[in-house]
């Protein structure tokens, strides 16, 4: 389980996060929603131990780190806790296959971590031996997701992973995320595709939606936050997103 309690983070005069509480539970999905610049990615980085919060506590697998005193965990939490970034960051000098397998080989994990299954699932056979710059954005996104999944993480943080995918691919990823959830993997998902999010959330109890604005949690709760938000700003934001995607 991954939790963040009272997380504060400031960049100069900008308060990026203000007392944020959030949790990612095993086999559950936490959806993080909010406008650009609301602090979603900063929060994700704090939870992934990639950014030090100014204050607050981040706990993973029973180990708590209270800031500002805490340093980096001695036992690194990765890849049990891993991240798929919006920009993918596939290593450009390696093929897609090498990108996925390098961590597996270097960590001396066996190849049977579902590599073949992931290649088949994400239909990567045709481009598995190409370099990242030789494939499309959507293909890179699938590869980045496969690179994280092949490591069998317990908690996975997904930052806008569907931004470059077509409807069919989004459907496949949604199906796979549901399967991951059934295997007990906790997920934090940042997305603007509320339809995609609803598809994931309505089937699961205990899933959570957190609406963040200006570094503050405006509303948090179950699927009802998307269906009938209490906070007017959340209502406005959700209707705007639904309008935008409906017009597309």
């Amino acid at each position: 389980m991954l939790t963040g309690q009272g997380i504060n983070k400031r960049f100069g005069k900008v308060e990026a996060l203000r007392g944020v509480n959030i949790s990612v539970r095993p086999g559950k999905i936490t959806l993080l929603v909010g406008p650009s610049g609301s602090g979603k990615t900063t929060l994700l980085k704090c939870l992934a131990f990639l950014e030090r919060p100014d204050s607050g506590t981040v706990s993973f697998n029973g180990n708590s780190f209270s800031y500002p005193e805490a340093g980096m965990p001695e036992e690194t939490p990765w890849p049990e806790l891993t991240v798929v970034f919006q920009q993918h960051f596939l290593w450009p000098h390696l093929t897609i296959r090498e990108n996925i397998l390098l961590p597996v080989i270097k960590r001396k994990q066996t190849k049977s971590n579902g590599f073949e299954e992931l290649v088949a699932l994400f239909e990567m056979e045709d481009f598995i031996d190409r370099y990242p710059n030789q494939v499309s954005l959507g293909q890179r996104q699938r590869a980045a997701l496969a690179r994280a999944l092949v490591l069998n993480p317990k908690v996975i943080l997904l930052d806008e992973i569907t931004s470059a995918l077509d409807v069919e691919q989004i459907g496949k990823i949604a199906k796979h995320l549901l399967e991951l959830r059934s295997r007990g993997i906790g997920m934090l998902l940042i997305t603007h595709l509320l339809g995609f999010a609803k598809g994931l959330l309505h089937k699961g109890e205990g899933d959570e939606i957190v609406f963040l604005e200006k570094g503050e949690v405006l509303e948090a709760g179950g699927i009802e936050v998307l269906k009938s938000p209490r906070h007017s700003r959340v209502r406005e934001f959700i209707s705007q997103i639904e309008f935008t995607f409906a017009s597309e």
């Binding site: 991240v83 960051f89 370099y131 890179r140």
Partner: protein
């Protein structure tokens, strides 16, 4: 008398000149590459101390033509120090200095612009620091660095011609001397051009090929 007749007739002198040029270039390349890479890495790691000092010297050097530095080291500096230094060593020192800072600049810029996100992606995949350096950082940095390095070393080879102006008996000076005695400028300087083409073209070609092969688009679009 054709080009090859001239080369054949003065083969001893040409060979001597080529040997001096190659020796000079090899020394300058070796010192420049080793010292430049070390300084470049140090500049990136210790930006406030080494980085700024090196940047200042590099900036200063880039504003002075190599020929002026060479002359200054050959005449005024030796007068000031009251020493007479073999022109070959003066040329070595000056060109090595210029090459060192050129290489330092290249290395520092590429290291400073290394997209740190690739290392972050490696960390969240559970890779250790050593693996990240050897399998991620080094290959990416080297692929970006090598074409630029080759091009700069070709430029340094061409800059060895300046050494002739302080009486180093390298290929250009030898050609001038032969031309002074037989006056066949077309053949002699064509032979000289051929010599440089023979060395520089493959290096430039290699740089272009490496650039095309390795520096595709490292950024994610």
């Amino acid at each position: 008398m054709g080009i090859f007749d001239i080369i054949w007739q003065y083969k001893q002198a040409f060979w001597q000149g080529i040997k001096v040029t190659i020796k000079l270039a090899s020394i300058v390349w070796s010192i420049g590459l080793v010292a430049g890479i070390i300084l470049g890495v140090l500049s990136d790691r210790y930006r406030r101390t080494v980085g700024y000092s090196v940047f200042f010297i590099s900036f200063l050097l880039s504003g002075i033509p190599i020929l002026v530095i060479l002359y200054w080291a050959h005449y005024p500096l030796q007068v000031l120090l009251n020493k007479v230094i073999d022109p070959f060593f003066t040329a070595c020192a000056v060109l090595a200095l210029v090459n060192t800072f050129a290489v330092t600049d290249l290395v520092r810029n590429i290291m400073a612009n290394f997209p740190e996100q690739y290392a972050v992606a490696a960390r969240v995949c559970g890779l250790k620091s050593r693996t990240i350096i050897w399998n991620i950082k080094m290959p990416i940095v080297l692929r970006q660095l090598i074409p630029g390095l080759l091009t700069s070393q070709v430029a340094i080879l061409q800059a060895t011609l300046f050494a002739s102006l302080i009486s180093v008996e390298e290929i250009f000076r030898v050609s001038q001397q032969i031309n002074a005695s037989v006056y066949k400028p077309v053949q002699i300087y064509t032979a000289l051009a051929l010599f440089f083409l023979l060395i520089c073209l493959p290096l430039n070609g290699l740089a272009l090929w490496l650039k095309a092969k390795f520096t595709r688009d490292l950024s994610e679009r």
